[in-house]
């Protein structure tokens, strides 16, 4: 056997092993999620959330909304936050040097007037230009600062926070009225140990939005957005529930995450040198807590909903996915010492290695593997029947896992009332595995190239404002 033949055969073997391990892990996570979600829903009824809402002893939360050129949606976003049902909270909007009308629109809509707000110096940030407080809503303030990126804006928001917990929210997101109370549930339950929680992100494209609230849940007309709806079910209801059960949750979405302020300050706030500041912060908090040897928990809560606008154009989606992948790569590189390190428990031994092999390097296997497997077949090292059977099993398994994620949603939350929408999602489960997934892999491969070329920054962001028709 020549060296080239050995390479092809080894690649084929690696590809097959990769599919078996990845899908096997997802199958296990699906079973874990089915059990966890059922238990969570049973517990939800008796967790005393309504009483916590009425209690003067419920800890306060500072909601931080970083905004860079968000003039299209800033007013709706803040309005949805003002309607949050939580006993004690404040909203800090951080205008990160926007060059559009973000500041003017916010000031006009909420009657924000300049005041000399005292800011902590716990985390260094770009200079703050001015601070404002709303005359109408005394729990709403705005920090106007020089542009320094999302992570820097979040750090400025933490410095302005008055409450012991901070909740980071994307400016293009809408938070359901009960979501803050629900995402805080694990903290109210166990404030000694829980240092961070995150809620589920759902896609608002296609939904009817009134005064900052999603009032009718529908599937978007854009095929690309529907595929993301399904993809999010898998990521949140299966992936995050599964990782939470091992206390190895690496991702709390930047769109909606709640943190103990002290825990964030102790690790120095968000890292400003990455585009994946949400993942990186969570990994750093994990490491800090484990280094200190204090018992802690980072949890995903499946019912508090954050609605967000999904990209409907290929180019925007491609940019988003490349950015996410670069962020993951930067995080893994910064925390390479924790990968496979038993000192970090499930995080070091399972979580980080999984994200390295299956998420970060996965696209290499998924993009390069099938063509090389095909070559191995052409060289006569694989039988046609084997190749076809393997591909069919791999795709079928993917479809079963996606259908199972949809079933988890349908059994536990049932947020899509229209039967037609559910049928459509089931049909798209096929395309998610054949076509969309490969496209994603291609973008993530390009992100590896971006990383090699040391590309930085977020790239252009196209925001039409949540609930408004697409022009793309």
């Amino acid at each position: 056997m020549s060296v080239l033949e050995i390479v092809f055969v080894v690649t084929a073997a690696v590809t097959i092993a990769y599919f078996v391990c990845l899908n096997g892990l997802y199958a296990v996570f699906t079973l874990v999620a089915a059990r966890s979600l059922r238990r969570h829903l049973q517990r939800r009824a008796y967790g005393g959330l309504e009483e916590a809402f009425d209690s003067p002893f419920t800890p306060g939360i500072t909601v931080i909304l970083p905004a860079f050129n968000e003039s299209a949606g800033i007013v709706e976003s803040v309005r949805s936050l003002l309607a949050l049902r939580y006993p004690r909270f404040e909203i800090v909007v951080v205008n990160d040097g926007s060059t559009d009308e973000t500041l003017a629109r916010a000031r006009e809509a909420f009657d924000l007037v300049p005041i000399r707000k005292a800011l902590r110096d716990a985390i260094s940030t770009k200079p703050v230009r001015a601070t404002y407080v709303s005359r109408r809503h005394r729990n709403l303030s705005l920090v106007d600062k020089e542009n320094g990126g999302k992570a820097d804006a979040l750090n400025a928001g933490i410095n302005a926070a008055r409450h012991p917990y901070v909740c980071a929210i994307d400016a293009d997101a809408l938070i359901e009225p009960n979501a803050l109370l629900e995402v805080a549930a694990p903290i109210l339950d166990d404030p000694e140990r829980v240092v961070a929680t995150g809620g589920i992100v759902r896609i608002a494209n296609g939904c009817t939005i009134d005064h900052g609230r999603v009032v009718d849940v529908r599937l978007p007309s854009s095929r690309l957005a529907v595929l993301q709806v399904i993809e999010y079910f898998r990521a949140f209801l299966v992936g995050r529930v599964g990782w939470t059960s091992m206390n190895a949750l690496l991702i709390i979405s930047g769109a909606f995450g709640l943190f103990q302020r002290q825990a964030v300050e102790e690790v120095g706030g968000y890292w400003t040198e990455t585009v994946g500041e949400d993942v990186e912060l969570v990994v750093r908090i994990h490491r800090h807590q484990r280094d200190r040897g204090t018992p802690y928990r980072i949890a995903f809560v499946p019912d508090p909903v954050c609605w967000t606008e999904a990209p409907e154009g290929i180019r925007t989606l491609s940019r988003q996915r490349r950015r996410w992948h670069r962020g993951l790569g930067q995080t893994l590189w910064r925390h390479r010492g924790a990968i496979g390190n038993p000192r970090y428990g499930a995080l070091g031994l399972v979580g980080l290695p999984y994200f390295l092999v299956f998420e970060f390097l996965g696209p290499v296997v998924e993009v390069v593997g099938p063509p090389l497997t095909l070559v191995a077949f052409l060289l006569g090292k694989l039988s046609l029947l084997f190749l076809v059977a393997f591909l069919v099993v791999a795709f079928l398994l993917g479809i079963v896992l996606t259908t199972a994620a949809l079933a988890l949603e349908e059994f536990n939350f049932r947020r899509h009332p229209k039967g037609r929408d559910v049928v459509r999602m089931l049909a798209y489960a096929v395309f998610e595995n054949i076509g969309y997934r490969q496209l994603n892999d291609l973008w993530r491969m390009l992100a590896l190239v971006d990383l090699a070329r040391r590309k930085r920054g977020w790239g252009a962001q196209v925001r039409r404002g949540i609930g408004r028709p697409s022009t793309e």
Partner: protein, 335 residues
């Protein structure tokens, strides 16, 4: 190997078909059940409301109808007091529901069933279940304990005050829920709370002071102010917080001393309390802390100082570097 793949294809295809079938069946079943329930609720609402108003007894009902009426009465029980609540309790007692739920609370194996029983007993409102709910605060499962804590508050079972605060201090139930439950008992909880000021555990003493601050009156201020001399910083902070509501002129000296406490929590709480006392003798100390102390203390001290004398603070702020005084002055001008 090929045979294994073929088996895999058939198995996965079958599994997917089963999942699709279950999804379709559930959609149809849930929609049908919701429609039937809505119809029944509509039909039974007038007799349920008449029963609550004392205009008649409930007619003979089928098992399904009984469930729906019980659910409706459970919902109303959360909101009603007086004779209507008494009729609800009598109804559930007559149906044997209270005994059934007590049995479930004591013996059910699944924790969720015990939690459900504890929760329902609070909604029903029968006064005879208080001791069993206190016992449930020692259940192995946190949800059962939390549901029991909530129900003790619903029942206003004064015998639950000490066990509730002890459970919260031991982190056995969420503090927010245990404190809420104790607050529901209002002034009736005061004797137990005053007894707890002598508890061994600092967390219990601190919890009792915090609740006393909300249900007590000026007469309790003296007992609370003794907490400022406690060895535990959490108790001293709770006492200072409580004096913001219960404090009187006699507490001025003690609070001024607390402004120099080693714990920033105590200093911040003392500053807030001094602002509420509205005694101008505290101004100098508050301004000093507003300019020099740690962030949270300085902020509380600045706001308290401005509450005492906004004009003086504006003059001082114009010649000093303290950002907290500037903020407090600006906020006062907004008001």
């Amino acid at each position: 190997m090929i045979r294994a793949f073929a088996f895999g294809v058939i198995a996965l295809g079958g599994l997917n078909s089963i999942l699709l079938g279950i999804l379709a069946w559930r959609r149809i079943r849930v929609a049908g059940a919701a429609r039937r329930r809505a119809r029944l609720e509509e039909r039974l609402r007038p007799v349920t409301l008449a029963f609550l108003d004392g205009d008649g007894e409930l007619p003979p009902l089928t098992r399904r109808e009984q469930e729906i009426v019980a659910d409706a009465l459970g919902e109303y029980a959360r909101k009603l007091r007086g004779p209507a609540r008494g009729r609800i309790v009598a109804y559930f007692e007559s149906q044997g529901t209270v005994d059934r739920e007590l049995a479930a609370l004591a013996t059910a194996r699944p924790a969720w069933r015990r939690a459900a029983a504890a929760h329902r007993l609070g909604d029903i409102g029968s006064a005879r279940v208080g001791d069993e709910l206190v016992g449930a605060l020692a259940d192995d499962d946190r949800d059962v304990r939390t549901a029991a804590a909530r129900s003790l508050g619903k029942l206003r079972h004064v015998g639950g005050v000490e066990p509730l605060l002890a459970a919260a201090a031991a982190s056995a139930v969420p503090t927010a829920v245990a404190s809420w439950a104790t607050l529901q008992m209002g002034a009736d909880a005061r004797p137990a709370l005053l007894r707890m000021l002598a508890a061994d555990e600092p967390a219990e003493r601190a919890g009792a002071i915090s609740v006393l601050a909300l249900v007590g009156d000026a007469a309790d201020g003296r007992a609370v102010s003794a907490g400022l001399g406690d060895a535990s910083a959490s108790v001293r902070a709770a006492a200072a917080h409580a004096l913001a509501r219960l404090g009187a002129e006699r507490d001025l000296e003690a609070l001024l001393l607390a402004l120099d406490d080693p714990s920033p929590d105590v200093r911040a709480a003392a500053a807030t309390a001094l602002g509420r006392l509205r005694d101008s003798r505290a101004l100098v100390g508050l301004v000093a802390h507003a300019i020099e102390d740690a962030f949270d203390v300085a902020q509380a001290a600045a706001r308290a100082a401005v509450a005492l004398d906004a004009a003086a603070c504006a003059r001082i702020e114009a010649t000093s570097d303290g950002p907290h005084l500037a903020e407090a002055v600006d906020l006062a001008q907004l008001a």
